[in-house]
Symmetry: C2
Subunit: 194 residues, 2 copies
DNA sequence: ATAAATTATTGTCATTTGGCAAGTATCAGC
DNA sequence: GCTGATACTTGCCAAATGACAATAATTTAT
């Protein structure tokens, strides 16, 4: 497994030059995760800053009735970790699981912190990753407020078809904030109908 | 206006010592915002990293029908800025407005970046602020998925009564993702009823 | 390949929430 | 204090979504 995608991801942030990317990427170690295996389990402290180069993952926790709720999907070329747990060194409330066979590269919390404090460009990179996470959470939040379930579904279909192809519908339903029954009906409804 | 609350806020992050807090706080300048005035308007680039020491603010934007949607409330002792706009130097999609007379302290983007790169402890502080924002967005997201409108309302009532006291109900309604009609009914409903 | 388990769809009906309009209360400016 | 504007409440009904249960389809394990 070569690390081209990692190099490209580091550079695409706009803060890291090609030669810096090579130096930084040298700290990352490869990691493969089989379908259905876990990157993180509830109660663990997230210790890996994981770049997903291929595959699909999801994060989930449980509601008060014990139902599994998907809180996030992670498609290729994203950093996957549990932000609160990782930075605060607290037990994670979430699980992160592979929906397909996955491959990627990781550094530990300690390595990440060392790079963060020693390299301006990596610092900017880390910050930009956090800002990107905030922006996507906000837009999902806004969508929950302003859009109907149907619109949210169609948006996901348009923006992330990989998810539709590989994730079970019940996971997609809870991610969209609806029941699987409703999702099933939305999908059955002839498209373009009001 | 003395800066004790700012000092205390910096220290309470756990990353900044009292003497460092004094040095860092020295860069902040005081700012007062009258009720209904704006800290940020749609289209501007957010350039102030603003610590709100007293008062209440809200962020809002507009949906496709032109309705005002409250995206966030900011109570005292929080950093107020538009994350994407501030860090990416792009025009803000949101407005940030004072709901009561407000006072606080700010540094510019440039000052913030200088401190971020020159001081380990401030760097950790900035990161912890971003992580806190992410955590609160996630818990609000989860609440949108798992809780009923009534539960979300009661939760807000419990966790942030200042908001209930000073924000118009229509702002609270859009923040909770419901219409003001529905909020009105929820409030009218005898509490504890199912 | 088969059986068991999981996942997805569909029917029926209840509940929640929304849309609109009328009426009431509150607030801001003069 | 008046007056107009804005905000809030309430009634009526419609639309969206959920709950539960019965299939149907698909996946997984053997």
């Amino acid at each position: 497994m070569a690390n081209e995608t990692l190099l490209q991801f580091l550079e695409s942030s706009g803060f890291i030059s090609p030669s810096q990317a090579v130096e930084i990427a040298a700290h990352f170690r490869p990691k493969a995760i089989g379908k259905h295996d876990f990157l993180l389990r509830e109660g663990w402290v997230s210790d890996e800053y994981f770049f997903l180069s291929t595959g699909l993952m999801r994060a989930f926790s449980y509601d008060k009735d014990g139902n599994d709720v998907t809180t996030a999907f992670y498609t290729a070329e994203q950093i996957v970790f549990e932000y609160s747990s990782f930075f605060r060194r607290t037990p994670s409330a979430e699980n992160i699981q592979a929906l397909t066979d996955c491959e990627g590269w990781f550094i530990t919390h300690q390595q990440m912190n060392a790079l963060f404090h020693s390299r301006n460009e990596f610092r900017e990179f880390v910050r930009s990753v956090l800002v990107k996470i905030i922006a996507s959470l906000k837009s999902r939040m806004l969508s929950m407020i302003m859009d109907s379930a149907t619109e949210r579904y169609e948006h996901l279909l348009r923006e992330a078809p990989q998810i539709m192809q590989h994730a079970p519908l019940k996971n997609i339903a809870s991610y969209l904030g609806i029941t699987n029954t409703s999702l099933s009906r939305i999908r059955a409804r002839p498209k373009g109908n009001s």
